[in-house]
């Protein structure tokens, strides 16, 4: 994501200025409508575009904002606008709790159910919402005409600029990690739950504001405004415009408002054309029209920032000792970890070895909080880690790399650099040398020594005994969930039990 360049800024300002200066009231109304949709779309981009969550409630929140404004306007006048924002943001916040935890297909269903409930209320709660006929006669208290246009576009421009600024920096990278590799994000200390809540509430607030403006512009609010068709429209124009691009919502909204006018002779056909366009964009131009325009301008989309190992490797968190005490983990009836105990101090590198199925990755998962231990204790100094969520453990000073790369286009060195850059006191490295050339292995060993000299503690799982011998102070050998040897590398390698476990000799003897 890049900050908004001059080209887009000019386009963004030009539209409302052009409308005010040149267009007749009908044209101005259309441009205002574009702004209104753009606001709703921007809100949607937060949850759907940035976090990749299949949200189907945006249309309903738009409707809630419209109704809230309609109800509040006669008594509160202009203050109806903030009321509408709250009116949409509050239910979003309340509903968010249980809903955001759900996996994608359940999340979509839950938001769909919520939206349907809102629609039902709008149609049937006649006392409150005027039922099928809706509400009217409130618009006099709200801004209209050119004043409304300016208000709406002021909000749009501010929102687009803030969005571009926020997401072109670290926040954008965090969102990308949450979206594509939530486990990696957790090990970097990113709290996915809080992120989703913030995005959902702010997105809902924008929808509510847009709804209020739409009530102002049409003067009438009816249950259609909470219907599924609004949601589909929002989703499709955001996708067509570009679900992550800061100008995506504006461009999509522009198309959504202008297309029916252009195709006005073909009644209803514009929706068909629109839907086909959406499908085509998803298949062939997934970044949307905004990105297409950027590409045609010769502007390259920014390559996601590749993490590099920082120069200074000192730890930034304070824990001194990581201790595992009789850690147990069961899967079904099998003990993946049958009472593992060892400890790692700062400035120490411990290698973890063992045959396939011995529990090495399970152990790393349990330490890092991705799995719950069934027994035993894991502590960082005197802090217990067993019941903390992964992102909290990360923040206490534990970093990690993964055996399989989770991000598209990622490399093992990037994964490693990311973990090191967190400044965590202790690092858990899962097979960082897999597939590496001899030269890369040498570089890994020097990095590990530098980390040790800088006072970090490292637990490294790998199969390359030579590498571990060069890099580690101690080796821990696991076999079927138990520690069968701890000591200096040479000692452990010579241990007859260790040699037997690697060859499977213990089995033959049985």
């Amino acid at each position: 994501m890049r900050p908004l360049g001059a080209f887009w800024l000019a386009a963004l300002l030009a539209l409302p200025i052009f409308a005010l200066a040149v267009l007749p009231p009908f044209g101005q109304r259309m441009v205002t409508l574009v702004g209104i949709y753009a606001l709703m779309g921007l809100g949607y981009q937060l949850v759907f575009g940035q976090l990749g969550a299949l949200n189907l409630a945006q249309g309903a929140l738009f409707g809630v904002g419209a109704y809230a404004a309609a109800l509040a306007a006669p008594t509160l006048g202009m203050l109806a606008l903030p009321v509408a924002i709250l009116g949409a943001a509050l239910p979003a916040a309340l509903a968010a709790g249980p809903v955001l935890r759900l996996q994608s297909h359940y999340f979509a269903l839950a938001t769909l159910a919520l939206a349907s409930i809102v629609n039902l209320v709008a149609v049937h709660a006649e006392g409150l919402t005027g039922g099928a006929n809706g509400l009217s006669g409130f618009a006099l208290a709200l801004p209209r005409g050119p004043v409304l246009l300016v208000t709406v576009w002021f909000c749009v421009i501010a929102a687009v600029l803030i969005y571009a600024q926020l997401f072109c920096s670290r926040l954008g990278d965090e969102a990308r990690l949450l979206r594509e590799a939530p486990l990696v994000a957790a090990t970097l200390g990113i709290d996915g739950g809080r992120w989703r809540l913030a995005a959902f509430v702010v997105g809902g607030a924008l929808a509510g504001l847009a709804g209020a403006f739409s009530a102002a512009i049409s003067g009438v609010v009816s249950p259609d405004v909470t219907g599924f068709s609004v949601m589909v429209l929002c989703l499709t124009f955001v996708v067509i415009g570009g679900s992550r691009h800061p100008m995506g919502a504006v461009i999509g909204a522009l198309l959504a408002v202008c297309l029916p006018e252009i195709l006005r002779d073909f009644q209803g056909a514009w929706l068909l054309v629109y839907a086909v366009a959406t499908l085509a964009i998803v298949r062939w131009v997934p970044g949307g029209l905004a990105e297409l325009i950027d590409r045609l301008r010769g502007v390259r989309s920014p390559v996601p920032h590749t993490p590099a190992v920082p120069e200074r490797l000192l730890a930034t968190s304070g824990a001194q000792r990581l201790v595992l005490d009789t850690v147990v983990k069961r899967f079904g009836g099998v003990d993946a970890l049958a009472g593992v105990s060892f400890s790692v101090g700062r400035g120490e590198i411990v290698g973890l070895i063992g045959p396939n199925g011995s529990g090495k990755t399970t152990l790393l998962n349990v330490i890092g909080g991705l799995d719950r231990a069934d027994g035993g204790a894991i502590t960082l100094d005197d802090m217990h880690l067993e019941h903390l969520p992964p992102h909290a453990i990360a923040r206490k000073g534990l970093g990690r790399t993964f055996q399989t790369l989770m991000l598209e286009g990622d490399t093992r060195s990037a994964d490693l650099a990311r973990a090191v850059s967190t400044g965590a006191a202790f690092l858990l490295l899962d097979e960082p040398a897999a597939g590496a050339t001899d030269r890369e292995r040498g570089q890994l060993v020097s990095l590990l020594h530098r980390l040790r000299d800088a006072g970090r503690g490292v637990v490294i799982v790998d199969h390359d005994i030579e590498l571990l011998t060069r890099a580690c102070d101690r080796l821990v050998c696991l076999d079927r969930g138990k520690v069968i040897a701890i000591g200096r590398p040479a000692e452990v390698r010579a241990d007859p039990q260790v040699r037997a476990s690697f060859l499977g000799l213990a089995e033959v003897a049985a």
Binding site: L109, A113, L272, T278, R283
Partner: protein
Amino acid sequence: MAYALVALGFVLALNAAGAVNFAHGDLVVLGGAVAVVVGQSTGLAAPLLLPLVALALGAAGIVAARVAILPLAARPPEATFVATIALAAIIEHGLTVTLGAAPRTAPALAGSGSFDIAGLALGRQPLAIVVAGSILVAGVWFLLERTQTGRRMRAVSSDRHMARAVGIPVGRYIMLSLALAGALAGIAGFLLGHQFLVAPTQGAGHMLKAYIAVALGGWGSVPGALLGALGIGFFETFVSAGFGDAWASAALYVGILVVLAVRPQGLFGEPVGRRA
């Protein structure tokens, strides 16, 4: 009963393609529309329309898969989400443009009116729906549980990679599952189209019900989806009778929200051991 067919098709497509097809509800409407149009233009008797609708919608199911689902299999789930929603809109608006938005009546399968049995007037169409629906569900059950084709379809749904490794031509079986899903949707649309009419905007409603049924019954579970659909049917009839349609729907939506909050794997969600 017709809802059971919709849910059945939905879950079969879900298992085969590994993704939710948001256009499934609109395939139901399309089935009804085909019945209306073909019935009117050819004057064929209703029972003969049934296989025609099934074939047409089977083909539609395959087209939907090739256009909106399979090409996006490697992309993140949002892509299929959007593509199938767009497809649903295409079907809905395509029908509006060609047939108009006004609801039409599909031909009744067994004629309208009612039977008089032991003093109770049983509508012929509802009865026909129950009979036809039961036969179809039984047929699908037989296909899945007792035939080699069905076994292979289930193997493909269970573990696509491994199915290839035992020599099963996976692509073919996915297509078959999706064609079956389409056919079931179409037949359901035909059956529902007499009592509840056929209108382009009904798609979203059908889809939501199927979605709820599958979530209630345990994601991916075929018997669960059927039970879920039947459960929804009974629940709605029951609440409707006492409090009216609106409350029935509201209760259903609140109900599914509660279930999702409390027991996300569904009422009959499959326990440990099933491949995620």
